[in-house]
Structures are given as structure tokens and as C-alpha cells.
Assembly symmetry: C2
Homo-oligomer: 363 residues x 2
């Protein structure tokens, strides 16, 4: 333990969200708050109808298309709000009152999503892992062919589970990708709609990414509020109203960083490595154990507890003393949660493992 | 002109929104993006459930209460989105399908607001200045006593008009204060609901301030989406979901600055002075003239044109060469618009007047 304790205190941010972003992004963003691109103006006082901001918005949208390899039918929007807004906006735009949407219930966020959908139509929960405190991803289920769409949460932050493969279904697929977007390859064009609050892998809190196949829109009977109709945002190039300028800008910086790393393919390799290292350390430990079923383990959020729960407070204190930030588990699972988002360096994972090993040696 | 031209180029930001904020706010925000309050973490990676962010949210809400002198019935919320979201959220929360809301139509933003209200109930437009391209604030009108609420836009950014006094009505008053909140005293407790996108006088784009008398809530029959129900946000202390952390933080810094200036009373005096100076210069000019009716002139957005419209392009070029930023008028009014928000220094107004005078001398 002594060697580890002697190290210079650096923060290792394992928080589940808002989360670590690349250091270079913080540096660029900090500069832009004082003087954006030598305009003499702060990015915070820049009009959104200026050519400067138009360029930011255009590049951000086009980088998303490029990084996700989206086809021409898929539109990219940066909208106000977070996933909680999308829980309402998705059924409002896609589901008629007499129609049914299918939902997979894999945790708190899925439950919240399907609760909102019930305000707009019928909801069929086609599978659930609730009885097991959501520690696995359901495998055996059928999505009725007349479902208007099928909604999944690709990664379940609280429980540390993740859909390793996307189920093949015959209906439009809607995904809440808040906590694993841009972290691994998926066939993004196979989704009718993807949404993600920025604050894990993409940027700061305060902006939502929405990727939508425009062909699924305009098919509901209800009159939509202007600001809730995806078609209006598409028509206005994601500038229907004043966008969250700074959050879009920091998202752009993060997407640029991702591209520099080699895009999703490259970051996925590192993410796999980080996850394997930490799960392996836990599996080989006498003190720690994971909570999720092995095959469904999340590569973004590693949830683990101590075999002797009375030691947890002590380990948390030691971790905090070492600048390991944000690893307290969600109250519904307890223990610890180490979030390994794109911008978390491999060295931070190594460091956490070292601290765990040292702790184990001493007990 | 020569003297003015020789001056060192400094930016004078007259943009209508997003707009100038205090320099000290940019400096603090820039620092926090690198290292918030010596936590070793960027404000952008700080968890919203931490004691650090809780303190930011608590102080921001309590400063709004203090600066606006709000009573215990008025709750303060920082929500995602901008006014366009409130256009929908207000009637959704306050208006039943068979009930009627009264609206004053004083410009594009009022029109947009009342259009959304029609989705939720009946709308009675009790007055309008549309026929005069919204260049005045209507005085003679009656708000039916059975109106569920009466909605006004206190300041009309595009047309440069402003309600100088708030009409006395017997029904709950709802105000869109986007562009004059915190710029002048009002009896804020006389409003049932006030909303304002932050990006004029309060902070950066990406957060909405909502002040609501809690007694008017919970009276509609419809089931409300969780994220749209103000009561949920009140219950959760404006932390129902991940808030736009950075936008709330910068709003707090701006509110702290306002308090240091002496609060609304003090800033109102300076705002009055700035507006009087500029209107007086325009009134005394042979080239320029204002577009709004004198008694309804906005103290926030001074809209003016040139008597000879063919000179407008030339003046705009000269202004831009002098670092006068964002004074192009909205396309529906043309000419120029100088926005004099709280953080715009008196010296910038002086400078604009100098440039106008010099231009006039030369023609």
C-alpha cells in the first residue's frame, strides 16, 4: 500500500455521469470560454446564427454521421434536454394511441422510458430482468410483429449490464444509448432511432444526441408541439431554437478527439482492454465480486461489491484518499461502480487495480 | 472618424442572444473548466449528485429568490431547454382542454407561444399589435375573468418594445421574460409563472429559469409526462434528471456578479442610463430613427433604421470594422438592433454612439 499512497495525487474520474472527458477537450473548451477562435468573443456570448457557430453545428452533425457510418436516411440532431425528455418525445412522435410499442425492461431507465410511453399508446413489456435486480440481459423473448417499435437500453449504467448483440427484430428498433454510444461498433443504420444524453462518452450535460431514420416520422395522428416534432428540427438543421451552444461545442471537441484516436474501432479495442483488465482483477480477487451475470457484463460500467460488505466503507475511503473519484455504486445495487468511458485512461484502470490489490494484501 | 478608427480593436457585443456576459464570469468559468474549485476536476466532469454541484444548484436557486425578492409560494427551477419548450410546458401544466387562456400578441415569440397553447385548450388573443408590425404594446384590452391565465412577453427582442408596466388583471399572470429578466424591477410575486431562457441576462444558452407559484399547479386533468410536470422538478429540487451542469454554474456566476453590482435596483439605473443615451443619440440624429413607438421602447433592445436605407450596409460595415458586434436587425424589422443587456458596459454604448456620430459627420 505504501508505494501507492506515496504517489502524487491525481484524480481518476470513474463517475457514471457527468463523466471524464479528454484533458485536451477541457483545455480547448477553457480557452474558448475566454476567446473563441480569436474572435475576441467568448464561446458563451457567440450568437447561434453566426457563421462561427453554424460551422460548429455543421461539423458536429457531420462527424457523428462519419463516426457512426450513417446512411443518408439517418438524420443527426443535437437537442435540448436529456434521455428523460426522449422517453416522452419518442412515443409522442412514433406511437398512436391505439398502437403498441414493445419495451425490454432491463433497469430503472428502461422502466422510466416505458412509463412515459404509456401516456401515448399501449406498451408491451416483452422481457424483464427485474426479478433478478436487473443483473442480466433477457435472451428469450418475442417482439410481436405489429409493434410500432421495440425499445432497448443498450447499456444499463446502474446494474453494469449491456446488450452484447442487438436483437434481430422485424419492427423499428429504438435505442437509449446514453451510456455506451461511441464506445463500440454497432450497426447504427439498423436502428430507427437512437438517443443519448451527451454526458458519458460525448460531451457535457445539457445536450441530447438524436439519430433518426427520417422515414419513420410523420406517421402519428396527434398534433405535435413544435419543439417536440423531430421533423421541425431536421428541417431547421438542428437550429429550430437557440441550441445549447457550449454543450454542442464541447461535444464537437470530444468527437474530434475520438476521430483522432482512430474512431470507434480504435476506442473499442481500448475499451475492451480496460474492461477485461478490471473484470479479470475482480474475478481473481478474494475480496471483490461482480454483480452482473458474466456474459452480460457492461464494458462501460463495472459494478462490483465486496464479499464482506462490512469492508466496503473502508475500501471506499482508501480509494477516495487515492484520488479515485465516483466509484460508489448506485444505492439499488450497492458496492462500487467503476465507469470506464472513452476518455478514462487505461492508466486509471491500472491504478484502480493496484489500489484494490494493495487493499487486498492488507486484509 | 479617424480617432475612433485608431482605437485598439475591442469587441463590443450588442448581440440579441446569446449575449455578452461579465468578463469576470468568463474568467471564472474558464478556470472551472480546467479545475473546479481546486477539486482537480473540470466542472464538465463533475457528477451532479456531488456536494459540489448541489451547492451550486442551491446557491443559484436561492440567489434568484433573493434578487427577485420572491415569497415562499414561488419556487425557482433551472430546467433544460429554452422558451420554446416553455411555450408547450406552460399550457400543458395549466390549461384544460375546455378552458381558455388569454394571450397578448406582441410579436413572433408571443405568436409562437399562443400557437402551442392551442394544442392544449382554447386561446383568446385579447390584443395584438401585429397590424403595425408589432411596433407598440397594446393598451386597451380586457382579459376575461374566466381565463385560466394571461400570457405576456415582457420584452419583444425583435421589435424593440417592452411592457413598461405590467397590466393589472384578475387572472394568473404568465410572463415570458427571456430578454428582460433581472434587468429591471417588477413585482415578481404578482406573477403566477415566469420563464426565461438564460442566454440574455442570466447565463449561457442551454438552461431555462422557471419561477412558479406552486399554488397554480396540479389543477389540470391530463396526465403529464414526468419531465414536463413542474411539481416533479420542485419535489426533486430542480434535480429530477441530470441538469445542464455548466449552464447552471455560469448562471450562478452571473447572478453573483449581479448581486455584487447591487442587485436589480442598481443594474436598472445603469440600464436606464444606457437606453436613454442611445435613444437620445438616435432621436438627435439626422440619419437614424427608431422603429418602436416612443412610450413602448425597450430598454434592452434598441431597434433603429436609417432614414436612407441605402446607407445601412455601409454603416454596418463601419460598425463591424470597429468591433461592434451583433447589431444587424432582425430580418422582419431590418436596420439595426443594439441589445443593451446587463453585462454590456456603458462604455460600449458610448462607443457605438461615437461611431454613429462620426459616420453622420462624414455623410
Amino acid at each position: 500500500m505504501e508505494d501507492v499512497l506515496k504517489e502524487k495525487k491525481v484524480m481518476h474520474n470513474f463517475n457514471a455521469g457527468p463523466s471524464v472527458l479528454p484533458r485536451s477537450v477541457f483545455e480547448q473548451a477553457s480557452k474558448a470560454v475566454l476567446n473563441y477562435n480569436n474572435t475576441g468573443l467568448s464561446i458563451l456570448e457567440l450568437g447561434h446564427r453566426t457563421k462561427e457557430f453554424q460551422a460548429i453545428m455543421d461539423e458536429a452533425r457531420s462527424l457523428v454521421k462519419e463516426l457512426m457510418n450513417l446512411d443518408a436516411d439517418h438524420e443527426v440532431l443535437f437537442l435540448h434536454g436529456g434521455a428523460s425528455t426522449q422517453f416522452m418525445q419518442v412515443p409522442m412522435n412514433l406511437l398512436n394511441e391505439n398502437e403498441t410499442a414493445a419495451y425490454a425492461d432491463t433497469g430503472v431507465w428502461s422502466s422510466k422510458a416505458l412509463k412515459e410511453a404509456k401516456l401515448y399508446g399501449n406498451v408491451k413489456v416483452v422481457c424483464s430482468s427485474k426479478e433478478a435486480n436487473y443483473n442480466f440481459i433477457p435472451k428469450d423473448f418475442t417482439v410481436p410483429g405489429d409493434s410500432k417499435y421495440f425499445h432497448i437500453t443498450t447499456n444499463n449504467t446502474i446494474y453494469g449490464t449491456q446488450w452484447q448483440s442487438i436483437p434481430k427484430v422485424d419492427v423499428p428498433l429504438v435505442a437509449d444509448m446514453c451510456s455506451d454510444i461511441f464506445s463500440r461498433q454497432r450497426d447504427f443504420n439498423s436502428f430507427a432511432l437512437i438517443f443519448a444524453g451527451a454526458q458519458k462518452n460525448m460531451g457535457p450535460a445539457g445536450v441530447n444526441l438524436v439519430v433518426v431514420d427520417k422515414n419513420i416520422l410523420g406517421k402519428v395522428d396527434r398534433a405535435l408541439p413544435t419543439i417536440m416534432d423531430y421533423r421541425n428540427h431536421i428541417k431547421e438543421g438542428s437550429m429550430l431554437n437557440t441550441p445549447p451552444v457550449f454543450a454542442v461545442y464541447v461535444s464537437l471537441l470530444t468527437l474530434q478527439w475520438l476521430k483522432q484516436q482512430g474512431g470507434i474501432d480504435a476506442i473499442e479495442k481500448i475499451n475492451n482492454q480496460k474492461a477485461e483488465m478490471l473484470y479479470s482483477a475482480i474475478d481473481n480477487s478474494t475480496l471483490f465480486q461482480t454483480t452482473a451475470v458474466k456474459e452480460d457484463r457492461s464494458k462501460m460500467n463495472v459494478c462490483f461489491v465486496m464479499k464482506d460488505p462490512s469492508l466496503e466503507k473502508q475500501f471506499l475511503d482508501v480509494a477516495e484518499q487515492h484520488g479515485i473519484y465516483g466509484i460508489k455504486g448506485h444505492r439499488s445495487v450497492g458496492g462500487f461502480r467503476a465507469s470506464l468511458y472513452n476518455a478514462l485512461p487505461l492508466s486509471s484502470v491500472n491504478y484502480l487495480i493496484e489500489v484494490m490489490k494493495e487493499f487486498e494484501k492488507n486484509y
